[in-house]
């Protein structure tokens, strides 16, 4: 249902004479159509604030905790956005708000023209841990979202096989998760997040638990997959170099309470390979991010 209004606006035929007709159709498609504004960014995060009341917290603190204070940024369809910040700075909280898993205290989150107040059902989610189901085989883990969405048919199975082939796991379709290494499990989790062709892929420090070499491998894999699928990605990380290596744009968060300190556009061209880590542009972006995080004093960058 949500796809219809978007197509309606984009249709070239909707301009001119048949305009009136399209307006009527637009009304018929529901009020949501009116919210669509073709020039608006795919995702807009405006003044988002999250305060956990004492009751929501598992710890015994009686004080409410401000997890996120005034987050603002935009992103376009197909972009890979890295959310970079120190541990516990609320970037994960923001990701969960975007996913509709928790309620924001105030502000606005618009994705594809819809205000997010509950899970929209067309996102992919990758957690820090692979979180696979030990009772399912690899391919059945990947097919889990399709079962929930009641689209588990042959086409879905073929797509799952294709995705697993993309990540180099063709030989493990029927394996159990515990037979795979951590990196392989996370690749399965990535396939699971992509199986239902989500509009938005949300990744919460997905490679944080992996060793450095596996992480570099996974970064390249993610870029390849993203090129293949054209997915829009929000990627939470606390690694400066990972953020810059992957992203079109890095959103740097300050310490708790988190607010967006700086936006760093990364102008390095895709496709990227590990070589670019040693280019001046990469180092420059790393320095910018380090300054924004307060790791490096700002004065040193004067030159």
């Amino acid at each position: 249902m949500h796809k219809r209004p978007l197509r309606l606006v984009r249709k070239p035929g909707a301009v001119g004479a048949p305009q009136r007709k399209s307006k009527i159709r637009a009304r018929a498609a529901g009020d949501r159509t009116l919210q669509v504004f073709p020039l608006m960014a795919f995702g807009t995060i405006r003044n988002v604030r999250k305060v956990f009341s004492a009751g929501e917290l598992t710890s015994r603190s009686a004080e409410p905790v401000v997890a996120l204070d005034d987050a603002n940024f935009d992103f376009d369809e197909g972009q890979l956005i890295a959310l970079l910040g120190p541990s516990g700075c609320g970037k994960t909280t923001l990701l969960r708000i975007v996913a509709g898993l928790i309620q924001k205290t105030s502000g606005s989150v618009m994705i594809g023209g819809r205000e997010v107040t509950e899970p929209l059902g067309d996102y992919g989610f990758v957690f820090q841990q692979p979180s696979l189901m030990p009772w399912r085989s690899v391919i059945d883990n990947v097919l889990f979202p399709m079962e929930i969405l009641k689209h588990s048919d042959r086409a879905a199975r073929e797509r799952a096989t294709h995705l697993l082939k993309l990540v180099g796991l063709s030989d493990f379709l029927q394996a159990r998760p515990h037979q795979l290494s951590g990196g392989m499990q996370q690749r399965v989790a990535l396939c699971r997040a992509l199986i239902h062709e989500p509009k938005l892929l949300l990744m919460d420090e997905p490679f944080g638990a992996l060793d450095e070499l596996t992480r570099l491998e996974m970064n390249d894999l993610l870029l390849r997959i993203r090129k293949e699928t054209g997915a829009t990605v929000l990627f939470v990380t606390h690694s400066i170099s990972e953020a810059i290596y992957l992203a079109d744009k890095v959103i740097v968060f300050s310490r708790r309470p988190a607010r967006v300190a700086t936006e760093i556009p990364v102008s390095l061209p895709y496709p990227r390979n590990q070589q670019i880590r040693f280019t001046p542009a990469f180092t420059q972006a790393e320095r910018q991010a380090s300054v924004a995080l307060g790791v490096v004093p700002a004065t040193e960058t004067a030159a």
């Binding site: 996913a99 898993l101 899970p119 989610f125 030990p134 009772w135 979202p145 515990h178």
Partner: protein
């Protein structure tokens, strides 16, 4: 091959050693048969009265299994209700834990007064002892579903039924079987207690009547039959676990 041989070999050596010690004590300690019959007398009684042991064992087996199944059928849905409803949980869970500390054996005479000396009272006693580990472990299992899996399901707008059937229940299955294994061993005890308190059949009754007639070899034969029965039903549950949850690593590796 070597591993399998040692897995069978060592317990066998242990058993043979114990039986030898037993026989040695009887013969050289001059222990009367009424107090402790020699192993060969017990074996002889076991073989000679095998029909009797089998028919009485069948009764005890039925009491054990039916009571255990009853505990599963009632315990698991109750666990699901308690785990998913905050109100039900607050109302009943502390009560359940409290009730668990009541010595159920002490209730056996009362249950006998209520339900008579037939099968019903045995089922009630078996149910009572087997019910608690099943419900407590199932609740624990349902509550320990990984948060990420619940969020994944929620992000896909899964219905509560889907969440339960596809995430919570399979995730809780190992816990359910842990509870079931404790429950099945308790179930055998429950059945024997029921028979002790008032019954005219079953291995417990056989044991009781044999000792009252000072027929110790038969009493010991009944005792062995009981332990075989206990092992048999335990293996049944373990087999069910292997079939229902084949993803679990084999038991020895979990310790």
């Amino acid at each position: 091959m070597n591993r399998i041989a040692s897995q069978i070999g060592y317990p066998l050596i242990g058993t043979v050693f114990l039986i030898a010690l037993w026989a040695f004590m009887c013969v050289y300690g001059n222990i009367p048969t009424v107090v402790l019959p020699t192993p060969d007398k017990v074996l002889h009684a076991f073989i000679a009265r095998f029909d009797l042991i089998l028919s009485e064992g069948w009764v005890t087996l039925k009491e054990t299994l039916y009571g255990f199944i009853l505990a599963l059928v009632i315990g698991i849905p109750m666990a699901v209700a308690v785990a998913n409803s905050r109100a039900l949980n607050l109302m009943f869970y502390p009560l359940l834990i409290g009730l668990q500390s009541v010595p159920k054996v002490a209730l056996a005479p009362i249950i006998l007064v209520w339900l008579g000396t037939g099968m019903e009272s045995k089922l009630a006693i078996v149910w009572l002892v087997a019910f608690f580990p099943i419900i407590v472990d199932t609740v624990a299992g349902l509550r320990s579903t990984p948060r990420e899996l619940l969020e994944l399901a929620r992000s896909l707008r899964a219905t509560p039924m889907q969440v339960f059937l596809k995430v919570q229940l399979p995730a809780a299955l190992p816990f359910v079987f842990t509870g079931a294994k404790v429950a099945i061993t308790l179930a055998v005890i429950g059945a024997v207690i029921g028979e002790f308190v008032g019954s005219s059949e079953g291995l417990g009754f056989l044991l009781l009547s044999a000792t009252s007639q000072l027929d110790s070899p038969l009493a010991f034969a009944a005792l062995f039959a009981l332990s075989f029965l206990g092992m048999f039903v335990y293996l049944l549950v373990e087999l069910a676990e292997r079939l229902a949850a084949p993803w679990l690593p084999p038991a020895p590796q979990r310790h």
